[in-house]
């Protein structure tokens, strides 16, 4: 190696470091990849919001593609997400199950009366245990679950119009045709 090339080594090292740092600018540390994707959705049996006497369990959804949306009336990003879910529900494309995470029945019901109810069923996870089984660490979080009951996709943070159009709806349609 001659002298000129050797002088370029620090520059090359510098550019590699810059490359890594530049990539880091666009990573979101809040998005922790879920180890549950590709695994069966954890089973639970929770009281329904509309009728706490009866329980709902994911077993009831076997054979169809469905979405589980963890939300709460105290969650600020849910306000942003809610109308998008309502419009998704209107299309009738896919049943949406609500997991009302660490909330009270009264506040949750008031929230649904105010913003509209996009959920086929909402269950109450008052102490957040089912949330832990699903690896929920900040609501809203949404899971797409296939006909066999396997989690195929997890949306961390609010479902946006772009996420629905580009990722979730195509995925749901693909899973439904399988």
């Amino acid at each position: 190696m001659n002298r000129g090339m050797r002088a370029l080594i620090p520059l090359a090292v510098f550019l590699v470091v810059v490359g890594f740092l530049f990539k880091g600018l666009f990573l979101n540390p809040k998005e922790v990849p879920s180890p549950l994707v590709g695994k069966p959705a954890p089973q639970f049996s929770l009281p329904r919001l509309d009728n706490p006497e009866t329980v709902f369990s994911p077993k009831e959804m076997l054979g169809q593609v469905w979405m589980l949306n963890a939300w709460a009336s105290w969650c600020p990003s849910c306000v942003e997400e809610h109308p998008i879910l309502v419009s998704l529900a209107k299309t009738g494309l896919v049943p949406l199950i609500g997991l009302d995470y660490k909330d009270t029945q009264l506040e949750a019901q008031q929230w649904l009366e105010k913003g509209g109810n996009p959920y086929a069923v909402t269950v109450m996870d008052a102490d957040g245990r089912v949330g832990i089984d699903y690896g929920v660490y900040g609501v809203p979080e949404t899971y797409v679950i296939d006909k066999a009951g396997v989690i195929v996709y997890k949306q961390i943070g609010p479902v946006t119009v772009e996420a629905l159009r580009d990722t979730i709806i195509p995925l749901v349609k693909k899973l439904q045709s399988q």
């Binding site: 879920s34 957040g128 949330g131 699903y134 660490y137």
Partner: protein, 151 residues
């Protein structure tokens, strides 16, 4: 009668206090395990804190979960595995040592070693470039003169 009621009320209050302090004494081993694990596990809400440091709702729930598992007699490893299955490796405050994290664990030491070797080679080469030349007669005279002056 009124005094009796007041006395009962006060007793109840002390009872409530006594109850609150109980868990600490109940099982020291469990408490120590919870404490040890809380320092090894990450709070996913406030990501740069451990469960022990964090007062977020999720951290409290996870601590409760850890305490319940510890009470059931689960080992540290089993409890950490339970949480990793749900939240992924990120929940460990200290990354696990495995093939994907080898670079993370040993990269800095590898860089240090490479730098050290580079420096050693460089110094060796520089040493090889210099040669011992005997002093000329004039230089030797000057050295003597300076040394004499010193003393």
């Amino acid at each position: 009668m009124f005094r009796l009621i007041v006395a009962c009320f006060m007793m109840q209050v002390t009872c409530v206090w006594a109850e609150e302090a109980q868990p600490l004494q109940a099982d020291l081993a469990v408490e120590m395990q919870v404490q040890r694990l809380s320092e090894e596990l990450r709070c996913l809400v406030c990501q740069n804190q451990t469960l022990a440091d964090s007062h977020s709702d999720l951290a409290l729930d996870l601590k409760r979960e850890v305490r319940e598992m510890a009470t059931k007699g689960m080992t540290d490893e089993a409890i950490v595995d339970y949480l990793v299955a749900r939240y992924g490796d990120f929940v460990r405050y200290r990354p696990a040592l495995k093939s994907s994290t080898v670079l993370l664990w040993f990269g800095p030491f590898a860089l240090l070693l490479a730098g050290g070797i580079g420096l050693f080679i460089q110094l060796r080469r520089r040493q090889a470039m210099t040669t011992d030349e005997p002093l000329s007669a004039e230089e030797a005279r000057k050295v003597d003169e300076l040394l004499d002056k010193e003393s």
